[in-house]
């Protein structure tokens, strides 16, 4: 299963090589051109049969994780987060350190040794360490180099009737969907980008937008889902099992209204349930792509993920499959509505 394979590969922001190699190998025979740009984005191109406009689909390859920043005299590894991680989920979690995948555990001061006021506060990231089973600094230094990446050690598992649990669903889910979509050929020119360093500030997508210069871009993401106890209904960002998510606004972009409505109408026509994201927080590659060159019409379609950015994100396979169906339908409808799309893009071409 594609999603399972993808989530089991480690690719913390800045070290996406293995994810990139895998995706490249899987899609190079079904696209017309494929390249890796200077900062590591994988960009594939599939020429259209009529080439009237350019559509870019984008998902990021990187995942949140950590990086080795030092050693303690007792052989413990010091580390910093790469991307946004809630420190409260970390103690006791298993990690894999470096390319060799050295096993380790995130540790902190045990509760019976903590003072009363320490217990009342959340544990700070600074007071945690990674235990790789060494008891001397020089031992640890031999096994682990400074700057090595650290990924969550978490297996893909099926949960209940139709859910799965895995790390890195944000955004291997998007990668998997785009890889499937590349099997088809359309009238328009189709580009797909698998970007790097999204989690540390949408860095890969900033140069992808410039290189591809698309007319329309759709970002496919794993997004936050907070339909859990103790959250008020109006604060649910999305709900599991209610279908793919359309984002009107987040911190980085307002979706283009024409493209968003087009996706929504397509969902209605094909009887696919969709939901709107109810919070305006977070952000994704759409923000940077929208503002490359003379501007790009963008939208985001996402799959809800509970406990995102943790080692155990939970996703509904039904949502994942219907996100794929929705995107298939959208691309087909883009072909069927050439005239409408060209009218929508009027004046939008960028020749600079």
């Amino acid at each position: 299963m594609l999603l399972k394979t993808l989530t089991q590969i480690n690719g913390v922001s800045g070290s996406e090589e293995k994810v990139r190699e895998y995706i490249k190998k899987e899609i190079e025979d079904i696209v017309d051109e494929i390249k890796v740009d200077k900062i590591g984005n994988l960009i594939a191109y599939k020429k259209g049969t009529a080439s009237k406009f350019k559509v870019l689909l984008s998902a990021h390859m990187d995942e949140v994780g950590f990086i080795v920043t030092g050693y303690n005299d007792d052989g413990m590894i010091k580390f910093s987060p790469v991307g946004g991680i809630d420190p409260r989920v970390l103690p006791g979690k298993r990690v894999l350190v470096g390319d060799k995948g050295l096993k380790g555990v995130i540790g902190c001061k045990p509760i019976h040794l903590q003072k009363r006021d320490e217990r009342d506060r959340n544990i700070k990231l600074k007071s945690m360490y990674i235990d790789i089973g060494c008891d001397k600094r020089d031992e640890a230094e031999k096994l682990v180099a400074l700057g090595e990446y650290i990924a969550f050690d978490s297996k893909f598992k099926e949960l209940g009737v139709d859910c799965i649990k895995a790390k890195a669903l944000d955004d291997r889910a998007g990668c998997a969907i785009i890889m499937e979509l590349l099997k088809n050929r359309y009238e328009f020119d189709l580009y797909a980008s698998f970007t790097v360093q999204e989690e540390i500030g949408l860095r890969g997508s900033e140069v992808v937008g410039y290189q591809v210069n698309p007319d329309i871009a759709i970002v496919i993401e794993g997004t936050t889902c907070s339909d859990v106890p103790d959250v008020k209904e109006h604060e649910y960002s999305t709900e599991l099992g209610k279908g793919p998510v359309l984002t009107v606004m987040d911190r980085t972009a307002l979706a283009d209204k024409d493209v968003l409505n087009f996706i929504y109408d397509t969902a209605r026509k094909h009887e696919i349930n969709v939901q709107f994201k109810k919070t305006a927080t977070g952000g994704n590659d759409a923000g940077k792509i929208q503002r490359s060159r003379c501007g790009v019409k963008v939208a985001s379609v996402s799959v809800p993920c509970r406990y995102i950015h943790s080692p155990s994100s939970v996703m509904s396979m039904k949502d994942f499959e219907s996100c794929k169906s929705l995107m298939e339908a959208v691309l087909t409808e883009l072909d069927n509505n050439n005239d409408y799309i060209l009218k929508m893009l009027n004046g939008g071409s960028c020749n600079v």
Partner: protein
Amino acid sequence: MFETIKKLAGSFGVSGSEEEIREVIKSEIEGKVDEIKVDALGNLIAVKKGSGKKIMVAAHMDEIGVMATYIDDKGYIRFSNIGWVWQYFALGQRVMFKNGTVGAVFYEQKLKEMKDLKLSNMYIDIGAKSREEAEKKVKIGDTACFVGNTVMEGNMVISKALDNRSGCAVLVKTIQEMPETDNEIYYVFTVQEELGLRGAKTSAFGIMPDMAIALDVTDTGDTPECELMEVKCGGGPAIKIKDRSFIAHPEVRRLIEDSAKKIGIPYQFEIMEHGGTDTGAIHVTGGGVPSGAISIPCRYVHSPVEMADITDIENCVKLLKQCLKG
């Protein structure tokens, strides 16, 4: 001038929903320029052809507002901010959706302390009795602006959205009076400035100007017990030295100052501690664009009772016209 400001400030144009204000501005300037276009993000670009330097003049046409994020069973609407909306300014105000639906903004009354007021414990009441009834008028993702009609008191204009329809009015008037110049002028009414200078970035890339001037409002330091600031209403156009988004290019700053001296209008210098403007994005476009800004002193920015001196605004038109000749 007042009629133009009233017309522009009264038009709907929350960031991302600038369709109505764009059409209003377009109708005001049609026939006065050589070309009018709208780019992929929705920026309105009016071009006056010429053989000289390419000068970009930018004023953002979007305004702050709110967006519906959730409608409950009783028809109350939860919302998120578009641009910087202070919860205390929003409390007790009216908002208006694009289709004219008006709602009252209020807070969950079990809230004990006003310091805990947040937009997430506030709601919009459009008088609907159920979710179904509310959804007939407002959908998730719809935006609303604050209500605040445009009036004159003495020499002061009071209105919502003087940020930045007063700047748009300066551009519109300048275009209508067609200053004589050999330079190629790109008058750009930008989108989504309030969300991070987004329209300015893409429009500047498409133009690649030799120089840019932004027209926007600035805070003032002339109200009781306010933060110290040199700028005051009635003191003339403010020539920007710096804000959070950029430092004015010394030569552009000098051009603006020399222009003001030449036509003999009062002017003042502005250093704004908070906020930025379109030139923040424009000046780092391509290989860099020398940029400056002319600001309209404005009290109570981002509230529905923004206030500016109409003589300052009129002087901005005179000043901009002189700058474009140079």
